[in-house]
Symmetry: C2
Subunit: 194 residues, 2 copies
Amino acid sequence: MSVQERKERERAARERLIVATARELAEQQGWDAVTTRRLAERIEYSQPVLYSHFRGKREIIGAVALEGAAELAVTLRAATAGAASEGPRARVTALARAYLDFAERNPAVYDAMFQLDGGLAFAQEETPEALKDGFAALLETLEEVAGEGVHPGLFTEVFWASLHGLATLTRAGRLPAGDAERRAELLVDRLAVL
Amino acid sequence: MSVQERKERERAARERLIVATARELAEQQGWDAVTTRRLAERIEYSQPVLYSHFRGKREIIGAVALEGAAELAVTLRAATAGAASEGPRARVTALARAYLDFAERNPAVYDAMFQLDGGLAFAQEETPEALKDGFAALLETLEEVAGEGVHPGLFTEVFWASLHGLATLTRAGRLPAGDAERRAELLVDRLAVL
DNA sequence: TTGATTGTCTAGCGGTGCTAGGATTCAGGT
DNA sequence: ACCTGAATCCTAGCACCGCTAGACAATCAA
């Protein structure tokens, strides 16, 4: 029994290594640079080993996305908890800032989650828990500022989409980088009902 | 002279053919299916011909993006002009609807403009006119609902980013498809100052 | 010790964007 | 009408991609 368990541990460790290496490489040089060859070389195994853990590159992206979603949820909750005693407005501002900050600091992970195809299901039954939890973290803070007669889930979707638009357009150079903070403020001011 | 002119006309026609074919292929089967080989085959020339018109695939995407930007500007102006006499609120709603509708109807073109790398400059001096004009079309309608003391350009950026977020997340399956209309309404309600 | 199972690798397939260099066509001068 | 040089276009090939078949070595059960 113990031998099997050790093997399973080693296998799990290698899988974590693959995901961590893919993420690292993507953050360093972009997802285009994450090829199966390079990835295999970095983990010091041959290419086919990757396929004994994941169906393909897309599933590796998906794994990075899940990891990122869990981190994002933690980050958002920490940010709103930090502003817990300062009223709803401060909480929402902190939430928006934390979200945009996460997207800026982890562009490759953010892409894996929301831009690339990681083969994950969204907004459905079979959506992975980590993703649902990320959305839940948003909802927890936003439901109190949704406004009367507005469905909190719907409001969260709109708020999230707006943040997502800001994050992606800013990072893709479609919006001037300097005014990011002012845009976020304006968004919070208008969307949140205080 | 006339010979040279004819050649130049033919060359321009072929360039239009390349862009139109790339766009068509992208809308039919996605940008992944737009390979230099397939594209060359469809226009009935060999691959290297593409490179006598464009530096590479990225520039072809850029050309499609410019075409799309011009169309988007026309579409948006037509939509707001159609609601010209119905007050600012109707105009903004028409604008938002037209934008989201464009993104939904022309996903490949929309991707070329805002998701993919077409090698274009944004929000800068050397930004192509078509892109500036697209932004101008948004601004024309939105500046009157920016609210007092809010810079119209900044407000337009925020509004645009929000629409962009809705468009991309919806199309990528990250948001449930059914409630698109309600989300758009909520967004307009909150952002526009009437 | 043997035989089967598991794990890993080498080698290779069909595809990608892109380009060097040769063949062909054609305009313009004699 | 013919030659010549330039412009045009294509064949063939490079290095790389994601992915996989099949050989080989290591490990375990009997």
